[in-house]
């Protein structure tokens, strides 16, 4: 890469915006997902009784199974949100950077 181009890109505001927003979104989503997985794992060791308890007092479906499916659903939703963000925000921003730098 030409050092001139490199300097221009590093000095470009849109580039920094793209990178910082995308990085924040990625880490936030990851933290939420891995955090809920860790919570599930730790609960299954330290407080199995909570995971075993039925969600409704007269039902049989335990909290753990609902939580498992909830994490799967959350994974779906965050994936969709990320793809939507990428298409409607990150990609236009990338095109803007290319235009600004006349690449």
């Amino acid at each position: 890469m030409l050092s001139q181009t490199k300097k221009e890109i590093l000095g470009n505001k849109s580039f920094h915006k793209l990178v910082s927003v995308r990085r924040r979104v990625s880490w936030l989503f990851l933290l939420v997902l891995l955090g809920s997985y860790l919570a599930f794992g730790l609960m299954s060791v330290y407080s199995p009784a909570i995971l075993a308890r039925p969600v409704f007092s007269d039902g049989v479906v335990p909290v753990g199974i609902v939580m498992g499916y909830a994490i799967l659903t959350l994974t779906f939703i965050l994936t969709l949100v990320y793809v939507w963000l990428a298409n409607s925000y990150f990609e236009p921003l990338e095109r803007k950077i290319m235009a600004e730098l006349e690449l």
């Binding site: 997985y37 199995p48 199974i65 498992g68």
Partner: protein, 551 residues
């Protein structure tokens, strides 16, 4: 080329399959299972289709890019299916179903973890990997670090994952095919080995991708029919499924609570880490991101893959519990000595018979076979690429090899891998190969992923740090598996394990990170300075793609 292909097929494959079919038809039953004509017919149809695909792909495989990356011509949806196919191996479909069948809620840890690993790939890896690399993930690690030592290490990492994983699949495949098709173990192993060698040698990534795609569609369809079948029998009442499962299971209500199998924090965390970060360190999965044209399609691939995988994992939980209800107490499936015919791994297969009779059982058996073939082909290709692209072209030939020689090396490697894994798999008949899969995933999580992740995100990573971290992770994983209960006690017969945990991932990953950190920050060499300086250029390319091409 064409003559070669035809000679290869007629000399090796046809007599072999004919002989096997004849033996099977003549002997009928080898393991107490009845011969299933539908299964064999469907299985031959599948093989015929894959052979046609391989011939077609061979005529289109000319360049290195064709061979390693299907010419980067695959679309996001198809690649998503192929990636999901890599994940939905026989181990996932039959093994995790068996785990749900035996332990109930504890298996949720696998069901969730198996899906979350893909979120790590989506959010941290996929787009950057595509922007930086060409054919293998080693391209990314070696982007700004010193090529030879770093490539050597990541090629070792790739092989240390692909070969044990391949071997585990082959041994499992032999046993599975033995009980599905009443085919002797050795024949089954040779059949799988010969077909996989054939697909990869001639059809490269293009054939491997198409075979994986078709199998993924078949497996998703089969899984859906089993899952929906279970729910239809229970009138779509999920509570009824849980109640019936708890009644039918020998452990009763305990399967609706955690703690049947995993009871300590270290084990739970190690398993979680292996899934979440190991998936992003599997060389055959990472290779798939180079089969699409750009970062956008890479992102779409993994988003589709998450959809398919999450859906499939949700089904597996239902299938496993369904098997508890309809298979576990069904006299038809009880082996003479107690337990299921063919072992717990057959739970899903038996359930398919309850749901759709012999015809559907045949379909699921054929799909299970197709799954094995497709997954071992991908693994073989990634191992061959580690040898020909990373070791031969970049380490031995300094990045200047001619196309013909490199492709020849790749094909010869494929042949060598095919023959040696067949031989080893036959030697390992009846052995517990769980340890091989354990090693593979632990190494993926504690060698490949951390090194690739740090090289992408940490500007201060130096060649010295990457090597120290990678080899420390590898050594820790291997030593801890050796001293742990799986090898030290079960295989070597000592009374007590030196290292108490079966899963080494937590410690091996930490070893990698600590060594990589310390040997990078303490690296004051000229090379380290230059490497830190070139991080910016790599970072820009990882975020917005190869800028130079657009100039």
């Amino acid at each position: 080329m064409r003559v070669w292909l035809i000679t290869f097929v007629s000399a090796v494959l046809l007599p072999a399959t004919d002989a096997e079919a004849a033996t099977t038809l003549a002997s009928g039953s080898g393991t107490g299972n009845e011969l299933n004509i539908t299964a064999i017919a469907m299985f031959f149809v599948f093989i015929a289709i894959t052979l046609v695909i391989t011939f077609w792909a061979a005529s289109r495989t000319r360049t290195r890019s064709d061979f390693y990356a299907a010419g980067s011509s695959i679309g996001g949806l198809q690649n998503g299916l192929a990636i999901a196919g890599d994940f939905m191996s026989a181990a996932t479909f039959l093994g995790v179903t068996a785990l749900v069948y035996s332990t109930g809620m504890d298996a949720m840890l696998f069901v969730i973890g198996g899906t979350l690993g893909w979120s790590v790939i989506l959010l941290l890896v996929a787009e950057r990997l595509r922007n930086l690399g060409q054919y293998t993930f080693s391209d990314v690690v070696a982007f700004r670090l010193e090529r030879k030592p770093v490539r050597t290490m990541s090629a070792i990492g790739s092989l240390a994952v692909a070969i044990p994983y391949l071997l585990a699949q082959m041994v499992g495949a032999g046993a599975l095919i033995q009980s599905l098709f009443s085919l002797p173990y050795e024949y089954a192993v040779v059949l799988v080995g010969v077909l996989m060698t054939f697909y990869v040698t001639f059809g490269g990534m293009l054939a491997t991708t198409w075979i994986q795609t078709i199998k993924a569609v078949l497996l998703l369809a089969g899984g859906t029919i089993i899952g929906v079948g279970v729910m239809v029998m229970l009138k779509f009442n999920f509570s009824a499924l849980l109640t019936a499962a708890a009644e039918a299971h020998p452990k009763g209500e305990a399967i609706l609570a955690p703690g049947v199998m995993f009871t300590d924090t270290i084990t739970v965390i190690s398993i979680g880490l292996a899934f979440v970060f190991g998936t992003a360190g599997l060389p055959h999965v990472l290779m798939r991101f180079f089969t699409v044209p750009d970062a956008r399609q890479a992102r779409r691939s993994v988003a589709y893959a998450i959809g398919f995988i999450g859906y499939f994992q949700s089904l597996i939980f239902i299938i496993g519990l369904g098997a508890v209800v309809y298979v576990s107490n069904n006299p038809e499936f009880q082996a003479a000595g107690g337990g299921l015919i063919g072992g717990v791994n057959m739970a899903a297969v038996h359930l398919s018979k309850v749901i759709g009779g012999d015809l559907f059982l045949g379909f699921i058996s054929a799909v299970a076979f197709a799954t094995i073939l497709a997954v071992v082909s991908g693994l073989t290709l990634s191992a061959a690429a580690a040898v020909s692209h990373d070791l031969y072209a970049n380490v031995i030939r300094h990045g200047e090899s001619d196309r013909k020689t490199e492709l020849r090396i790749s094909r010869v490697t494929t042949l060598v891998i095919g023959l040696s894994t067949m031989a080893l798999a036959i030697l390992l008949e009846g052995e517990n190969v769980a340890v091989l899969a354990l090693i593979a995933l632990a190494i993926a999580a504690s060698v490949n992923f951390p090194v690739m992740f740090l090289s992408m995100y940490w500007s201060k990573l130096t060649t010295r740090g990457a090597l120290a971290g990678g080899y420390a992770g590898l050594a820790t994983a291997l030593v801890l598996v050796l001293l742990g209960p799986t090898v030290w006690v079960s295989l070597l017969g000592f009374d007590k394990p030196v290292f108490p945990y079966a899963y080494p991932t937590l410690f091996a990953m930490l070893a990698n990170l600590i060594f990589a950190f310390w040997f990078s920050v303490s690296d004051r060499s000229q090379r380290a300075l230059a490497e830190a300086e070139s991080f910016d250029a790599q970072w820009i390319q990882s975020e917005i793609g190869p800028v130079q091409e657009k100039l």
